[in-house]
Each structure stands twice: as structure tokens, then as C-alpha cells.
Symmetry: C2
Subunit: 159 residues, 2 copies
């Protein structure tokens, strides 16, 4: 398992617990290879990093899960969540997960800087990251629901 996946797995658990009061469980799969092509559906936060680690983090979940996360943070009613609120929350969660990774990678000598987050909403979106030598994924399940959260990191390290 790549060190980036170890950091992502620790960071996501910590941030979901702290921010959403939600214990997510990482599928204990040592194979962290992202499928090629990677296909995402639902709501996906993206943050890029530049520097000695250069690449993009995609955090993907169903629209239902994204709404649930938004309600947990904003205290709002699921029926009244706007796309903008949802994007604010998923963008910010992706930013926190990436910030956590940045901090741990900086400790390893891979200093980097974060872009502001974007959020995309779609179905069967194929992601090609031909310039990334590192293509890893971590899948988290949410107990008491059928939901999963997928985090993909496509990056390269400069040494």
C-alpha cells in the first residue's frame, strides 16, 4: 500500500468523525490500485496540489451521502439542501482531507500547495490521469447504510 493511501485512510476517518460525527470504515484492502479507467458517479469534490507532490484528489460519494453530510454539518433539512450548500460542504471536506494529506506529506519532505476545491456532479464520469505515476484509491463504508466514500489520488512525487 502506498504511503499516500495510509495517510488518506487515517485522515478520512479522523475528519469524518470530527466533522460529521460519522465513523467510516476503510475496506481493509492492501491493494490500493485505482481501477483504470476510474469511473465516478454522484458528487465528487476535487482539490489539486502543486509542489513536490503534484496531482489531484477526488472524493466521490452518492448524492444521498453528500446530502446527509451537508445536513450533519449545516443542521439543515435533507429536502431543502441546495446544490450550492452541498458543494460548499463537499468541497470543504475534500479540502480538509487534502490538507491533512499535505501536512503528512510535507513531514516526509514533499511540500505542496493546495488549490481551491471544486465539486462535480455526474454519472459514469471517466477520469484519465495519464501523467500520474501514482494512481491509488481508498474505499470507506458507512455502517448502518449502504453508502461508500471513495477517495482517489492521482499524483507524482518529485524527489
Amino acid at each position: 500500500m502506498h504511503i499516500i493511501s495510509e495517510f488518506i485512510r487515517g485522515g478520512v476517518r479522523e475528519i469524518y468523525s470530527m466533522m460529521l460525527g460519522l465513523e467510516v470504515i476503510c475496506k481493509e484492502d492492501v491493494d490500493d490500485t485505482a481501477p483504470i479507467p476510474t469511473v465516478i458517479s454522484g458528487v465528487c469534490g476535487t482539490v489539486s496540489v502543486t509542489g513536490k507532490m503534484n496531482g489531484t484528489i477526488y472524493m466521490s460519494m452518492s448524492e444521498k451521502m453528500a446530502k446527509d453530510a451537508t445536513c450533519r454539518i449545516m443542521g439543515s433539512d435533507p429536502a431543502s439542501v441546495s446544490d450550492e450548500e452541498l458543494s460548499d460542504v463537499i468541497g470543504e471536506l475534500t479540502n480538509m482531507v487534502t490538507g491533512n494529506l499535505k501536512s503528512k506529506m510535507t513531514d516526509q519532505g514533499y511540500n505542496c500547495t493546495l488549490s481551491i476545491p471544486n465539486v462535480m456532479i455526474g454519472k459514469d464520469v471517466k477520469i484519465e490521469a495519464t501523467q500520474s505515476s501514482i494512481k491509488v484509491c481508498s474505499i470507506f463504508s458507512v455502517p448502518d447504510s449502504q453508502e461508500t466514500i471513495q477517495v482517489f489520488v492521482f499524483a507524482r512525487l518529485e524527489g
Copy 2:
């Protein structure tokens, strides 16, 4: 029209002419406001920037146009273009367009650093960029075809 749009319009014309031998024409629309939400279909290259300009550039076109661009650069047969070749070419074109913008924005005092490109392929993908104060778009038409190329910049400037 935002200065970023002026730079994008000049840069895209120059790069498509130089790299693809293709004269693209920007719709002479002074309103460069990106639609909210922005919805893209087809093949889309993405590159983010960090620094005094921070954000993401999306360069979107139909799969047919992306294949044509790939053939022009690789000299390959349209029938045999793989997703990987196509992603290499569209990623690199997006990288060049963003590099051109970076260089012109640096001259204006907005230094920034580029992420490596990714490419996404999908239909009706909604992009939400709630943290970007600048949301602009430039649309280029390709003479002798019904094709268009759309470039969206979602960013904020510091300083």
C-alpha cells in the same frame, strides 16, 4: 470582459494554430460569465493552479473534436485512437493553454504554479465552483465543422 478571458482567448487561438494547424474563432461575446451551473459533456482537460491565482481551468470539447485533435498531433487514424492517446493530447493541450495563462498572469503580478493535467470523459457533468469569485468562459468555433471548444476558468486572485 475579465483580463483572464482576454488572455485565454489569445492563448487558445495561438496554441491551436501552432499545435494543430487549426484556426479557431472566439465568439466575439464580451459577456464572459460562465453559466451557473456549468455543465460539460464530451472530453474535458483540467489543470489547476496555485499561488496568487488559484483555481482550475476546464477545456471541454466533443469526443469527435478531441479525436480530431489527437490525430492532428499524433498523425494517427481516427478509428484507432485510444482513450490514453486522446487523454495525453487533450491533457497536454490544456497544460499549454494554462501555461500560457500562467505566464501572462505572472507578468501582471499573479505568480502561480500548475498541477499536472487530468482528463475527464462524461455527459452532462455539472461543475460547482462555489469558492471561486471569478467564473468565466470563452467559446471557440472551429470553421468547416460544427465543433466548439469551451474553456472555463474558475479562480480567485490574491493580492
